[in-house]
Amino acid sequence: MACLKFTKSHEWVRVEEGLVTIGISEYAQRQLGDVVFVELPSKGAKVSKGSQIGTIESTKTASEVYTPLSGEVVEVNEDLVNNPQWVNESPLEKGWMIKLKAEDSSELDELMEESQYKAFVEEESH
């Protein structure tokens, strides 16, 4: 069973079969507005916790995406680059950004569960 976790910078993380998939949350995509451009890292890139793994641009703003986990990028959602609207339409499914082979699964423990994240968002939007 896949488990979904969230970061304070509004990324989501899903752990499946030893791989970690990362994208941005429903709340984040709504804040951004119409996404027009997505920039992703290249496959094979080594990333460390907290580093930037991509950029998302909307008509109104540009925002960086950070990885909450260290590891190696093993897959990137190439189709997303040509279909940036997927971030809006389907942030948790078609809008995934990268798959990561995580180095240290204990880093996952620092992330929020869905219910915690909901409360966090509630608080932030006030």
Partner: protein, 487 residues
């Protein structure tokens, strides 16, 4: 009906020429064929058709001469026509920048005298005229800051800007190799406590707009200046909002070391759909020698170019900058004189406060204090009712009013920033106020009408998302001379 591009009007032939050609050269005899162009894909159209094409385009545009244009932070005041005429005089328009100084005495004298007037207005010691936009003025000014610290042997790495600053401020800091530190505002003004906390020995300068982008005067400016200077920093004045202070207060007395002035805002030169403008830079005495070169000096009765200062940061632009803009701004100051400038400033403030007063029942001002030349409203309440600041802005187009600046400053939610300027009369302000009140009513009664606006413009709501997702940035086909090109 789809509007045609100029390229679609190509007739493939033209019968007239503007010049008397003497085409006795055969380029292929001088250059190898590999260097020469085979096909130049430009349209051939008759003059009458070209004129009509652009006249039709012009009519699709709002402008200060045709519409109320209260675009906040842009000071879209009336552009006096005499100034256009004067800048077009042969003696100003038909001179080459590399002519001898004795052939350019009038131009040099004009710049010299203009400098004197600006120094009187601002308290600066000298001005440089090359910077051709506000942003280039900032670049020049912050590079001067950099040179100043370098020569004094102190390496600094940061520039502070308030969170209400124009985007050009942090972007400039980056271009000058500085890290930007943003400090939060408190009641719309610089938070002195935060400033003290953030201003360490690594900070090179504070960039400040005063009155700031919320239309508020930084009343603690002397305290701010003291903090900045005590800690070895410099104070930079973004002159985008100088209009309400002309003839009333001097930036030098506030403690500013380097300033830029936007001649295309405060000093009435037209903005031409985005330029040419001028962002001329002034400095107080110890920083004067860092200004760009050449400087214009006077010896006996002769004006000359001085390339003397070794501390100068160099040149941000070729030649003398946008000279015709300088002529217009100089003429503007002469025409108004000390009393006229002051009256213009005061009336810009009066007009903004009048709008604020008349609309505050309907739209929430970002701050309740009296404003200077512009007022920022938050449309959060309207948004709850179903129409955003964007919808309100677009609906204004149906009233033939250019929308105010939207969603800026960033710290105000659903912001609309209104700057009427002093050159609008009460009737026009009242018309705008009535339109805004009607629109506010519609946020309740008929939000859909706002969301789908404008209804009477040249085009319906333009899909900016589509433009950015699928960029089409140039026309590639060309009538008969189509050249296949992939986009």
């Amino acid at each position: 009906m789809e509007r045609k591009l100029i390229f679609d009007k190509d007739r493939g032939c033209r019968n007239s020429s503007y010049i008397t050609p003497s085409l006795d050269i055969k380029p292929e005899e001088i250059f190898g064929g590999d260097m020469l162009r085979e096909d130049l894909s430009l349209p051939d159209i008759s003059e009458s058709e070209v004129v009509r094409h652009y006249m039709q385009l012009a009519r699709l545009n709002f402008s200060v001469d045709t519409n109320f244009y209260p675009l906040g932070s842009c000071t879209m005041k009336y552009n006096p026509k005499i100034n256009e005429y004067l800048s077009g005089l042969e003696g100003f328009s038909r001179i080459h920048p590399l002519q001898r100084e004795d052939d350019l005495q009038g131009a040099l004298e004009l710049m010299y005298e203009f400098q004197n007037l600006l120094c009187a207005l601002t308290g600066m010691k000298a001005f440089a005229f090359q910077p051709s936009s506000g942003a280039q003025g900032e670049l020049t000014g912050i590079l001067m800051v950099r040179s100043f610290h370098e020569i004094n042997g102190s390496k600094k790495s940061k520039v502070i800007v308030p969170d209400s600053a124009h985007g050009t401020n942090p972007a400039t800091a980056t271009m000058c190799g500085y890290e930007t530190v943003v400090i939060e505002s408190r009641d719309g003004l610089v938070d002195i406590h935060q400033l003290e906390k953030s201003f360490d020995e690594d900070v090179a300068a504070l960039m400040l707009t005063n009155p700031n982008t919320l239309g508020l005067f930084e009343k603690d400016i002397l305290k701010i200046s003291r903090i900045v200077h005590e800690r070895g920093g410099l104070l930079y004045y973004d002159g985008a909002n100088f209009n309400p202070l002309m003839g009333i207060a001097k930036p030098a007395l506030m403690g500013f070391d380097i300033i830029h002035l936007n001649l295309h805002k405060t000093f009435s030169t037209p903005h031409g759909c985005g330029g040419p403008g001028a962002g001329i830079v002034g400095a107080v005495e110890p920083l004067e020698e860092f200004l760009p070169l050449p400087r214009i000096k006077k010896r006996n009765k002769t004006f000359y170019l001085d390339y003397g200062s070794e501390k100068s940061l160099g040149s941000p632009r070729t030649f003398f900058g946008n000279f015709d803009v300088l002529v217009k701004a100089y003429a503007y100051i002469l025409r108004l004189g000390r009393e006229g400038l002051k009256r213009a400033a005061q009336n810009s403030v009066l007009n903004a406060n009048y709008i604020k007063k008349k609309l505050e029942k309907y739209y929430q001002p970002a701050y309740s204090k009296q404003c200077m030349h512009e007022v920022v409203f938050s449309c959060s309440e309207q948004k709850k009712r179903g129409a955003s600041a964007l919808d309100i802005a677009k609906r204004l187009i149906d009233y033939r009013i250019h929308p105010p600046t939207m969603y800026f400053p960033l710290i105000v939610k659903e912001a609309l920033m209104v700057e009427p300027t002093e050159t609008e009369n009460k009737e026009m302000l009242d018309y705008f106020i009535r339109a805004m009140i009607k629109i506010d009513e519609d946020t309740e009664k008929n939000p859909q009408k706002l969301k789908s606006s404008p209804h009477k413009a040249a085009v319906g709501r333009v899909d900016e998302t589509r433009a950015a997702r699928m960029p089409v940035l140039a026309h590639t086909g060309c009538g008969k001379h189509k050249k296949s090109q992939k986009t």
